[in-house]
Symmetry: C2
Subunit: 260 residues, 2 copies
DNA sequence: GTCAGCATAGAACGACGTTCGGTCCGATGT
DNA sequence: ACATCGGACCGAACGTCGTTCTATGCTGAC
């Protein structure tokens, strides 16, 4: 019933993770003699996975494509990772880690919510250019190491507002949900590759949606026509920040109620 | 270069959609004589797809499984739908349509934001029990017929607040992003089927996460421990509503600024 | 020099979405 | 009454995917 072969690597990451580099002499000899066997590392596998995902999207992230990039075989990847799902999770956490590192120490504004805003925007910016990230973070955020760190960082800023645990918990969860949700929502749009590398402000995509909106019945869809011009001229990033500010205003209101 | 075989059904839905029922005499004879050939309809295909998705999740929604349920062949489905992606989109829109129908006419509160709240909660409730829905709605919401209707309904309520187009657009987009994002986020959790139909408040899943949170370092994760009790006792629906209220409070603040 | 076991390789497997040539059967024309 | 036509349906076949399994190269310990 149980697995006949014990998997070499489990999700929880035992104490004996395969080491990354640390093979100086071997590398030098590898340059001279073309070896048949490639040498990998968890770091290399995850990095190449991230590169593949960023370059060509989730559908192109194939174990075969990844193995080809690593110069090895398909089976080798399973030495470091027990499934594709785990690999993409690791890739997502990898990216989140670099976002965290990039914004570290820059959260010292007088207004706690200003720090929350900065942290949220940094995350949004990272996800919006990586469609594969958004969908992956949904529901998984608080289960990965860097996800926990991100959650904690948001929470520490909110704690400074002095609200009880209940309201603090709700506020942080709301912000996280809004950020992840909106980022995943907006990150989906670059669908058409547009062969030549021009990519004119992704006008084709927005133009098609705009035409569809324009064609809607004026009587039945008054709101759509009311905001049509805004939709035509809107910028995803600005729109996200505007929505975030609405949410933060609500949180500030709640905090004031406890401070008074 | 172009497709050799012109697809019978395109995304835009031409004027000649396959009719649904309307085969009284044939159905009566079919009951008597066991026919080898089954008769489908777009309605039946989408309905069975929704049922399959609801019962066993996205991974179980296979064209082969669907064909078996319909009592037909795999290829037949392609007469009504040009790809699996389109089928799932249709299924999502189908569900959203029933949510819209169920809440129709019940948006007549004195406070416009109360109606927004009701509409948002109805959507959330539908998504949270359908993990496959959340991920599908991301980025697609405003491109499907019922998605547009939903967007419009939210917008009409927000219009009553009397804000300029810009702020109205931002408010509706923020609400939609929050709802879809949070719903998709929370809808992911029922992973363990727990054979017997007991489902003890999905304690197993929450318990595992709770244990992980408890094990975190107290110095490094003060916020996590600050809200640990809340996390242990929280209800997803309540948490969503609390976050939504924060966002709505911010919107009301913005609206008041224009009213004064 | 030998040997254990770690790390790698790639063929093989089953399941998937999709395609394609074909078949059935009710409607139509004469 | 019969021939014909074409919309609706069928399922074998194809290529690709994630994953598994067995074989084998490589390296440090003795």
């Amino acid at each position: 019933m149980a697995d006949a072969r014990t998997p070499p690597r489990t999700r929880s990451g035992g104490p004996d993770r395969p080491r990354g580099g640390g093979r100086a002499g071997a590398a030098a000899r590898a340059a001279a003699t073309p070896r048949r066997r490639a040498s990998h590392s968890l770091e290399a596998v995850v990095s190449e996975a991230v590169a593949l995902l960023d370059e060509a999207g989730e559908s192109a992230m194939t174990f075969r494509a990844l193995a080809a990039r690593l110069g090895g075989g398909v089976g080798s990847i399973y030495w470091y990772v027990s499934s594709k799902d785990e690999l993409v999770d690791l890739a997502a956490d990898h990216v989140l880690g670099s976002v965290l590192a990039a914004t570290e120490g820059r959260t010292d504004a007088e207004d706690p919510l200003e720090d929350v805003r900065a942290t949220a925007v940094a995350f949004f910016d990272a996800v919006v250019v990586r469609p594969w990230l958004g969908a992956r973070f949904l529901g998984t955020t608080e289960q990965q190491p860097n996800g926990m760190l991100y959650y904690e960082r948001l929470g520490q800023q909110v704690m400074r507002l002095g609200m009880p645990p209940r309201q603090s918990f709700e506020a942080v969860s709301a912000v996280l949900g809004f950020v992840v949700g909106t980022a995943a929502d907006l990150g989906r749009q670059p669908a058409a590759p547009t062969k030549d590398g021009v990519v004119p402000e992704r006008d084709g995509d927005l133009g098609a949606a705009l035409a569809q909106w324009r064609a809607m019945d004026r009587q039945e869809f008054p709101f759509v026509h009311f905001i049509l011009d805004e939709f035509a001229a809107h910028d995803d990033g600005e729109q996200f920040r505007a929505g975030l500010d609405l949410l933060l205003a609500g949180i500030r209101l709640s905090a004031d109620r406890f401070r008074a």
